[in-house]
Symmetry: D2
Subunit: 335 residues, 4 copies
C-alpha cells in the first residue's frame, strides 16, 4: 500500500483526492494537513465522509509527515506551494504538486503571471504530469507538476494535431466553460447561488493564467512556438470543463482524417475516449475520463473536449500520476 | 403619479421593487437610499437595469426624502428598521416596512425572537399588510407592516379554514421550501454555488422567527389561539416558496368541500388562484400570484400554496399595499 | 389599442408574447390560435396565466381573425408558416413571422437548409426585423421576418465592426451557448431533466440552419460576402444566449477603440447596452435587452453578446417590431 | 467473484448498478439484458461507460443467463417483474428484485394499488431487503424484494421510534422531496428541462403507491398497525430524497433522548449516520449512506432523513443485499 499525505486537504481538490483514495486498493491515506483554522475530523470538514473516514486533518508537522507517507499531494495555492515543496522533497517524499509553481519552466513567464519564483532548482527537475504525453518522464520523477484543468482539456483536445504538426500555430482559439467548483470553496459575490444560478459569463478576458502553461506545453509537443487565445467562461453547474477548440489546419482535413488520427493516437490511452459525436459534459462528471470529438466546420477544425475539472483536471490526474510513480496499474482507483 | 422612495434599495427586495415600479403606470421611483458603501448608480449596483433606470442610490438624507416622496418602502433589516420608521413617519410619509419590526403586536413575543422594541407607539398603529385579510385596515393606514414571505404562503393557504373555524388548532404543520434568494445577497458558505447546487436541506429547526408572526395572524383570523409547527427548507432554485400544510379538520372534509370553500372564499381576490391540481412553483415565479390547492389525504387536509418569495412574499405585496393606500387599482404594475 | 393575434400560441414564444402583451399599454391580445389538440383556455395551457388572461386558444378561423386583429404574430414552424402567411396578408393583416421562411432572400440557400419555398412573392417584400439595423425598412412593411435568436445575438455583437468594415470577413467564429428553452416545448431525450441537468454540449456541428441567415445579414451590413463559423451549444439553464464572437481586425485595435466605436454606434439604441465588462446572462433574462462587451485578446477582437433567446431573440423583438409598425413608442411593453 | 446479471439494464437503476459493480472487488458483471429496442453496447447505451465496460446489453436468453450468473438484479417495472422472477429462480439464480411485486405481503393490498398478483408462491418466500432491519432474514434468502426509495428513507428515519414503540401510530406524516431521476428515463412533459428547471411540486396526492409498502413495514417493525400520510414532491435536482417526517411521541421527548436513542440504535450500521444537524442532500448523493437527524419542534418529533434515491434507494441497497447473500463484506463496492 502506497502511503499518501495530502497537504492542504480542506478544499475541493482535497475532498476529491480523499474520495478517490478511499476506494483505491493499493494506496491509503495516512496524513492530512491544512491551515490550523481548517483542521478537524475529515467527517466534520466534509460531512459527506461521515462514517467513511476516521482521519483528522491536522496542522502540518514535517516529522510526522515523513514518518507516515511516501508521497505528498500538495494542494496548496500558487506561491505557498513552492515554500513547502522543497521541504517535502528533502523529507524524502515524492511530491505531486497541484499548483502552477512547477508547471512553467520559463521563470520569466511564471514571474509575469504569478510572482517571483523561489525554488528554481526543483522547478528544473519537475515533470509535467500529463501522462498521455509525458508518461515516460513521470516514471522516475520525484516532483510532478500536476497540470491545470483548462490546459488538460486543451492539450488532450489538440495534442494529436500539434504532435503531427497539422495546424497553423497562430490559429488556436480555446473557448472553455467550467463548472463552478473551479472557483474553489470560498464564498464570493459571483458564486453566491442566487447570482450564479441560471447564469453564464466569461472571465479573465485577455489574460488567464493558464494561457502561458498552455502555450508552453503546446509548443513542447509541437516543437515550435504556439500562440493560443484562451477564453474561459463559468456556467451554473458543479463539475466539468467543456473546451471547444477552433484551429486552422495547414491543409484541408476531413472528419474521417480526424477520426482516424485521433483513434490511432489515443488507442492505448485508457482515460481518453474518442467519440463520433459531441461529448456531453455530464458523461465525464465524477470520472477521470476525457471525451473528445474532433470535427470540421467551415474548413476549420473544431475539437470538443470534456473532462471533470476536479478529477482529470486535478485530483484524478494526480492519482493517475501517483499510480505511475509507484508502478501500480495506472487506472487503480479511477475506473 | 405616486412618488416612491426605497430605503435600503441595494438588496434583492429593493431590486424587485425597482423592477416592478419601473413598469407601474401610476407610481414612480423618486429616491433610493442605501448604506454609503452600497451606493452608486442603480445600473451599476444591479447591471440588469443598465439603460433602464437613471437613478442613483444615495446615502439617506431625510430632507431630500421628504421633498421627493410620498411613500417609503423601508427594506431594512430587523432592528435597524424601527430606528428609521419613526423619522419617516414624522417626515410625513406613508411607510411600508419590510422588516419584522412592526408585524408582531405582542412586544414580549417580539423581544423573545428579536430584540428590545424601541418604537412601541408606532407598533400599535401599524397594520398587517396582507390585503386578502386586512384590506380595510390598510386603506387608511400610515404604516403598513409588510408580511414575511413564509407567513404569506401559510396564511393564504389555510386562511379559509381558520376563518371558518374548521381545523384543530393544534394540528397545523407547515413544511415549506424556499428558493435561495430568501437568504439575501450576502455570500455565505451554505449558499456558495458549489455547496447549494443540487442540494436541499432544512434549517431553523424548532425555532424560525416567522413562527410567532404566523401564530399571531392565524390566531387573529381564527379568533382563538393557534399552534403552528413551521419547518423551513431551502432548495437549489432562485425564487418561490412551496408550503405544504398539513392539518386535521374538526369534522371530516372532502376534496369537494374544500374546493367549494376555497373558490368561494377567494372568488374576488385577483392574486389568489385556487387550482384543482398541485401548483408548480415555476408558474408563480416573478409574479404576485399565489396558487393554492387544498386536498385531502388519509383524512387530513393538505394544502399546497405557492408564491414567489420576493414578489407576493415581499416587494409585489408591498406594491399591492401601496396601490391600496393611494386608491389605485390594486393590480397596477402587478399583472 | 393595436389588436394582436397570435397564430401558433401554444409554444414558448407564444407564451412570452402573451406575457408581454398583457403588460402592453397600447396593444391588446384579441385572438389566439393553435392546432386543435393544443387549444383550450390560455390559463389551462399555461397555468402561469391563471386569473391573468381570459382568452381561449382556438383553431384558426380566418374570418374571425380578420375581424379581430390588425397584426398577426405567426409563431409557426418553418415550412408551415409560408402556407399561412399569404392568407394572413390577404386578410389585410400585418404579419410578423417568427419562422425562417421569410428571412433568407436567396431561395437557393433557403432550399438547401430547409425545403422548397412556396411563397417567393412575399419573400421579396419581407423586411428583416432587426430594428437596430433595419428600422427604416420596418416602418412601412406589411411582412416582417422576425430574426432568429442566434443571428440576433451575433449581428448585434459584431454589427458595428461589419458596418465599418473593420474585420477580416473570413475570420468570424461565433461560439454560442443557449438555454434549454431554445429546444421548444416538446419533450425529448436530450432535454429530459435528468439528462440535461448539470450538462453542457455542442450540437448542429458544422451545419446549423441559422448560419446562412447570419451570413446573409452580415454580408448585407458589411457590403461584402461574409463567412461565419457558427457553433451552438446548449446549457442547463432556461433562458438566454451568450455569444462569444472571435474575429480578426483588419488593423490592430485596442479596447479603447472598440469601446468608443460601440458606444457611439449604439448610443441611440435603447435595447443595446454596451458594457465595460463581461455580460452576465442572468442580467438580460426576461428582458428585451442585449448586453455587449467588445474586447481584445491576443490581437483578436472578442465580442461578448448576451440576450434572452425568447425575448430579444423572439417575442420581445416581435413586439419591438410591432411598436415600430404601428407608430408606438418602440419600448412600449418592453421596459 | 460473484457473477451478476442485470435484467432490465437500460434504465437509471441499471446504470447505477453497472457503475457500482465495475468498482466491486468481489463481484463482476457477466450478463446484461433489456428489451430488444434498448440493446446494444453498454458504452453506446450509456456513453459515460465509454472505454469502461466492454459488455453488451442483449435480449434475455435464459440458458445463457443461467450459465453466466449466480445472481440476477431484476430491474423491471412492476407487473413485468413477476413474470420473470419465477423463471430466474427456477434457473437456479438468487434474485434481487427492484420492483414492488415482492414487497407487499398482503396481495389484497398489492392488487388494490397495482394489479393481480401472479406469483404468490414466491411472494411468500421473498424477504424485504432493508438490511438494517432484516439482515438475518436476508442471509439465507433466494429472493430479495429490494425496498422502494421513499420507504427506505422513511423507515430508516423512524425505525428506532417504531421499534421502541415511542410514537403515536396515527400521527406520522412523511413529507418527501425526490430528485428528478426518480421519474425514470422516459421523457415527459413535467420532466422536460424547461418545465422542471427552477420548479418544485407535489404529486400523487393522497395515493402514492409507496404508502402501503411503508405501512406494512412500519407495522411489522412496530408490531402494530401504522397509519402514514405520505406526500411526495419532486425538485429540480438529479439525485436524492429528503424525507421530513413529523410524528407525535407518546410521551414528551427531548433532542438528547432522540440523539441517544438513534446513536445507540444505529451504532453498528455502517450506512446509517446519525447527525447532530440537518442533513444536506448533496452529502449523500452518489453514496449508499443515509444521513439522519432526529429533532424536536413544538413538542413533535421531526426526523430528517437523506438518501440517494438511486443508490441507497435502489442499486446500492441491492448490492448491499447481494453482499449479504454471498457472505461478502457488506460495504464492498459501496464505500
Amino acid at each position: 500500500m502506497v502511503k499518501v499525505a495530502i497537504i492542504g486537504a480542506s478544499g475541493y481538490t482535497g475532498s476529491d483526492a480523499i474520495d478517490i483514495l478511499l476506494k483505491h486498493n493499493n494506496a491509503e491515506l495516512t496524513y492530512l494537513t491544512a491551515l490550523p483554522e481548517e483542521c478537524g475530523a475529515v467527517e466534520d470538514i466534509f460531512p459527506k465522509f461521515k462514517g467513511r473516514c476516521g482521519l483528522e486533518i491536522e496542522p502540518l508537522d514535517f516529522t510526522k509527515l515523513a514518518e507516515s507517507a511516501e508521497v505528498a499531494f500538495c494542494c496548496l495555492p500558487h506561491k505557498v506551494s513552492m515554500g513547502f515543496v522543497p521541504k517535502l522533497l528533502d523529507a524524502g517524499l515524492k511530491v505531486i504538486d497541484f499548483s502552477a509553481d512547477y508547471r512553467i519552466k520559463d521563470t520569466a513567464v511564471y514571474e509575469k503571471y504569478y510572482q517571483q519564483h523561489t525554488d528554481k532548482a526543483n522547478l528544473e527537475k519537475a515533470v509535467y504530469g500529463l501522462p498521455e504525453f509525458y508518461r515516460e518522464e513521470i516514471v522516475g520523477a520525484d516532483l510532478v507538476a500536476n497540470p491545470g484543468c483548462f490546459p488538460t482539456g486543451l492539450i488532450l483536445g489538440i495534442g494529436p494535431l500539434l504532435k503531427n504538426n497539422l495546424i497553423k500555430i497562430n490559429s488556436i482559439i480555446d473557448n472553455a466553460v467550467t463548472g463552478s467548483s473551479g472557483a474553489g470553496k470560498n464564498p464570493s459575490k459571483n458564486f453566491h447561488f442566487p447570482n450564479m444560478n441560471e447564469n453564464l459569463f466569461a472571465y479573465s478576458i485577455g489574460c488567464h493564467r493558464h494561457m502561458p502553461e498552455m502555450e508552453q506545453i503546446a509548443a513542447n509537443i509541437a516543437g515550435d512556438e504556439v500562440n493560443i487565445l484562451f477564453q474561459p467562461h463559468v456556467g451554473a453547474f458543479d463539475r466539468g470543463i467543456l473546451s471547444t477548440i477552433y484551429c486552422e489546419p495547414k491543409k484541408s482535413m476531413t472528419a474521417d482524417n480526424l477520426a482516424e488520427l485521433y483513434n490511432e493516437f489515443y488507442k492505448d490511452e485508457h482515460f481518453v475516449q474518442v467519440l463520433d459525436c459531441a461529448p456531453h459534459l455530464k458523461n465525464v462528471a465524477e470520472t477521470n475520463y476525457c471525451h473528445i470529438y474532433p470535427a470540421v466546420s467551415k474548413g476549420k477544425v473544431v475539437v470538443f473536449s470534456a473532462i471533470d475539472n476536479l478529477v482529470k483536471g486535478a485530483s484524478g490526474q494526480a492519482i493517475q500520476n501517483m499510480n505511475i510513480l509507484f508502478g501500480l496499474d495506472e487506472t487503480d482507483g479511477l475506473k
